[in-house]
C-alpha cells in the first residue's frame, strides 16, 4: 500500500485517533504518514472542542415546563410554507372534468406519437438537463493515446501536428466567448506543443542518420507540417481582426508560435 492509500484510509476511519494494526505498521516506519496521522487525530480532537453559543431564547425551558405541567404545548411555528395536499385536489378536479380531460389526453397522445416518429432516437427527453460530452476533451485524450502507441518520431510528429491543429481550432472557436485568461491558456498550450512536441520530435529525426529515400520522406514530412503550421497561423491571424481586443493577444501568440515552428521545420527540412 502506498502513502496516499494509507492516508486516505486514515481519513475514512471512524476515529483517526484509533489506528488499526494494519495501518499502524506502515505508519511506524513512515514519517510522512506519521505526521498525517497526527494531524488527522488533532483535527477530530479540535472538532470536538468547537464552541457553541448558547441559544438566544428560552425555548427548551418553555417546552420542558409545558410538558411538566401537562399543559398543551403551544408553539409559534416557523414560517415554513405548509405543503398542501396536491393529490387530493388533483383527483377532485379530474373527476369533475372527465370528458374534457379525456379528449385532451387523446389529442396529446396523437401529437406525441407523431413527434416521436419524427425525432431521431437517442434524443434525451425534453426538459432533462444533461451535461453534454466535451468533444475537445475527447480529442485531446485520443491524441494522448496515439502518443502512447506511437513507436517512431515521425508518428509522434504527425500526432503533435494534429494536436496543434486541434488547439488552434479550439482557440478560434472560443475567441468570442472565453475569457482572456482562458484563451491565453490555450495559446500557451499551443506554444508548448509546437516547441516541446513538434520541433522536438523533428530534432529526433536527424537527416544524417537516414538513407537517401528516408531523407526525402523526412523532408516531405517536415515540409508538410510546416505548411500546416503556416495555415494555422494564417487562419488565426485572419481572426484577430474579428475578435474583442482582449482576445487578440492570445490569438497573436498562436500566430507567432506557429510561424516560429514553421520556420524551424523548414530550416531542418532544408538542412538535411
Amino acid at each position: 500500500m502506498n502513502c496516499q492509500s494509507i492516508q486516505n484510509k486514515i481519513l475514512i476511519l471512524p476515529d483517526p485517533r484509533v489506528l488499526p494494526d494494519a495501518l499502524r505498521d506502515h505508519i511506524a516506519g513512515c514519517e510522512v504518514c506519521q505526521t498525517w496521522a497526527k494531524q488527522a487525530a488533532r483535527l477530530d480532537t479540535l472538532l470536538q472542542q468547537l464552541p457553541v453559543p448558547p441559544a438566544p431564547g428560552n425555548k427548551k425551558a418553555t417546552v420542558v415546563d409545558d410538558l411538566t405541567r401537562g399543559n398543551p404545548v403551544i408553539i409559534r411555528p416557523l414560517a415554513i410554507p405548509a405543503r398542501k395536499s396536491f393529490a387530493g385536489s388533483a383527483l377532485k378536479f379530474l373527476d369533475q372534468n372527465k370528458t374534457v380531460i379525456g379528449g385532451l389526453a387523446a389529442a396529446v397522445l396523437v401529437v406525441l406519437g407523431g413527434w416521436s416518429l419524427l425525432t431521431p432516437s437517442g434524443t434525451p427527453p425534453v426538459g432533462v438537463a444533461e451535461t453534454p460530452e466535451h468533444p475537445f476533451l475527447k480529442m485531446i485524450v485520443q491524441r494522448d493515446l496515439a502518443l502512447a502507441k506511437a513507436k517512431k518520431p515521425v508518428e509522434r510528429l504527425q500526432i503533435f501536428g494534429g494536436l496543434a491543429e486541434d488547439l488552434s481550432t479550439e482557440a478560434r472557436s472560443l475567441a468570442r466567448v472565453a475569457s482572456p485568461e482562458e484563451l491565453w491558456d490555450v495559446a500557451q498550450w499551443f506554444d508548448n506543443v509546437v516547441k516541446d512536441g513538434v520541433v522536438n520530435q523533428a530534432r529526433n529525426m536527424p537527416a544524417d542518420t537516414l538513407t537517401l529515400s528516408a531523407q526525402r520522406e523526412r523532408k516531405t514530412e517536415l515540409d508538410a507540417l510546416a505548411g500546416k503550421l503556416s495555415d494555422m497561423a494564417a487562419k488565426t491571424e485572419k481572426m484577430t481582426g474579428e475578435v474583442p481586443p482582449d482576445a487578440k493577444a492570445a490569438l497573436q501568440k498562436i500566430v507567432d508560435s506557429a510561424r516560429a515552428g514553421e520556420k524551424k521545420l523548414r530550416e531542418m527540412a532544408n538542412a538535411g
Binding site: 481519513l11 505526521t35 494531524q39 479540535l46 472538532l47 411538566t68
Partner: protein
C-alpha cells in the same frame, strides 16, 4: 452549554420512551433534557444561526412528541430525533434565505465540564470553525454527526437518509477538505512544518 458526556443507559432510555408512548409526558421530558442540547449544537453548525437552530430544535421535539407513537421501541431514538431535525433543516433551507452570523467574540460558550481550551487551540478553533462552516452541507452534516455526536456511520446514514457507504464517503471528503485547508493549524502546538514529532 453543557456537553453531554455521560453515557446513555439503554434500559433507562427505553423506560422513558415506553412512558412517553403511553402518554406520560414526564418520560418525553427526560428525552428532551437528554437530547435538546446535542440537537441544538448540530443544528447550529448546520444553520450557522442561533435563532434558527433553536427554532428548529423546538420544532423537532414537538414533531417528535406528536409522532412518538410511531417510534419503534428498541431502535435508536437519538437517530430518530436527529432525522426529524435534519428533515426540518432541509425544509427550512428550501423555504428561507439563509443568513450567516459570525460567531461574536463574547458569545463563545464557557466550557463547563468540557475540555480546557489552550491559547494555541483557541486560535486553531477559530480557523476550523470557519473552515467547517465553508464545507458543503452534506459533508458538514455527516462529519459532525460522526465526530461531535460520536454516531456510527450506520446511524449517520439513517439520519441523513443515505447508505452507510455514502455516509462514510462524506465524512472522508469533509476530513480531506479540512486537512487541505487547515494543515498549518493542525500541527501540534510548538511544532513547525516539516518537523517530525
Amino acid at each position: 452549554m453543557i456537553r453531554e458526556t455521560d453515557p446513555t443507559l439503554p434500559n433507562e432510555e427505553a423506560e422513558w420512551i415506553r412512558a412517553a408512548q403511553s402518554g406520560d409526558r414526564d418520560g418525553f421530558n427526560r428525552l428532551v433534557e437528554r437530547y435538546w442540547d446535542r440537537l441544538y449544537r448540530w443544528l447550529y453548525r448546520m444553520t450557522r444561526d442561533r435563532h434558527t437552530a433553536e427554532d428548529l430544535t423546538q420544532e423537532t421535539f414537538l414533531k417528535a412528541l406528536g409522532a412518538v407513537q410511531s417510534f419503534r421501541p428498541g431502535s435508536n431514538f437519538r437517530a430518530w430525533v436527529f432525522r426529524i431535525g435534519h428533515n426540518n433543516f432541509v425544509n427550512q433551507k428550501r423555504s428561507e434565505r439563509r443568513t450567516k452570523h459570525q460567531l461574536p467574540e463574547d458569545a463563545a460558550a464557557p466550557d463547563v465540564g468540557g475540555v480546557e481550551i489552550t491559547t494555541e487551540n483557541r486560535e486553531a478553533l477559530e480557523v476550523i470553525h470557519q473552515a467547517v462552516a465553508d464545507l458543503p452541507d452534506d459533508f458538514r452534516s455527516a462529519l459532525l454527526l460522526r465526530v461531535e455526536e460520536g454516531l456510527s456511520f450506520r446511524e449517520v446514514a439513517k439520519i441523513l437518509g443515505t447508505t452507510e457507504e455514502t455516509a462514510r464517503w462524506r465524512v472522508f471528503k469533509a476530513r480531506q477538505k479540512l486537512m487541505k485547508v487547515l494543515s498549518p493549524e493542525l500541527l501540534p502546538p510548538g511544532a513547525t512544518a516539516g518537523e517530525t514529532t
